[in-house]
Symmetry: C2
Subunit: 139 residues, 2 copies
DNA sequence: TAATACTTTTGTAATGATTACAAATCTGTT
DNA sequence: AACAGATTTGTAATCATTACAAAAGTATTA
């Protein structure tokens, strides 16, 4: 996505496209690594020495409220952020403590709607051991 | 579940059934309200003045590791605990800030297994507005 | 029953992610 | 250029959770 397109997307959602917000959103779109606030801060302060942690939190809240990113709470210690909004789940490996995406068959929230809930976000989380860590243990 | 049965269940999982652990597990089994550590503490300290917050955390970790309860991270502010282990999802109402159960059609984790992940826990979370709060707004 | 080793509980103190807040800066409009 | 409103920034506070070590409890052995 070009910087112009990014700016346009933010504007369409009624978000003033400041340099900081564009930087955060662009980082999340180009790094599908589910970074934490701290990771975002360290990555972006390099290009903008006055960049602050508070701005990270302000920005991700604004983006999440607009539905442009997800806030992942699978890790109780730290929030992780994800700008990939396609239907997918998240897997937390208890061994290497990394977050993985996994494909999701389909209609997770369908029963919710039928129960009268108005759904704004939905997430599928799983924990366990990832393939790489399973292989390590077997050695 | 009788106290004897509770004790037996803990023992079967290799957990020493101390009075505190039985109390926590019993509270969770009889209150399907997804309490927080603080709620558990205040409820149980009444019957045992020396009961401590640390014991709440110790105990829920032990129970969760044994697969007897779930630790819910849907609320980023506080962990919630749930001893009902049947397949169901959790809904967080952004309006009244309450947690609801919802029924789940079926095979959430099936695609995960096919990708080689070893699944230990899985949870489906959704947020939005519950039926009661929708009715309130419409008035 | 007493002695011993081991587990669990308890209270206090530390940790650290997140939020509160107000001053400074930026943005868009006249 | 000046103004009002929004955003950013740095610092200080908040508060759930964890670390830790002493005290209490539990089980095992003789």
């Amino acid at each position: 996505m070009t910087p112009q397109k990014l700016t346009e997307t933010l504007r369409q959602k009624g978000i003033c496209p400041t340099a900081q917000r564009v930087a955060v959103y662009e980082y999340l779109l180009t790094h599908r690594t589910h970074p934490t606030a701290d990771t975002l801060y360290h990555a972006l302060v390099k290009d903008n020495p006055s960049f602050s942690r508070t701005t990270v939190y302000n920005t991700v809240h604004v983006l999440a409220k607009a539905g442009l990113i997800r806030v992942l709470t699978i890790d109780a210690d730290e929030q992780h952020f994800d700008a990939f909004m396609g239907e997918h789940g998240h897997f937390w490996c208890a061994c290497c403590e990394k977050l993985f995406d996994f494909s999701l068959s389909a209609d997770t929230a369908s029963s919710l709607v039928s129960d009268g809930f108005l759904v704004e976000t939905s997430d599928v989380y799983a924990t366990g051991v990832c393939p790489a860590c399973q292989a390590k243990v077997k050695k």
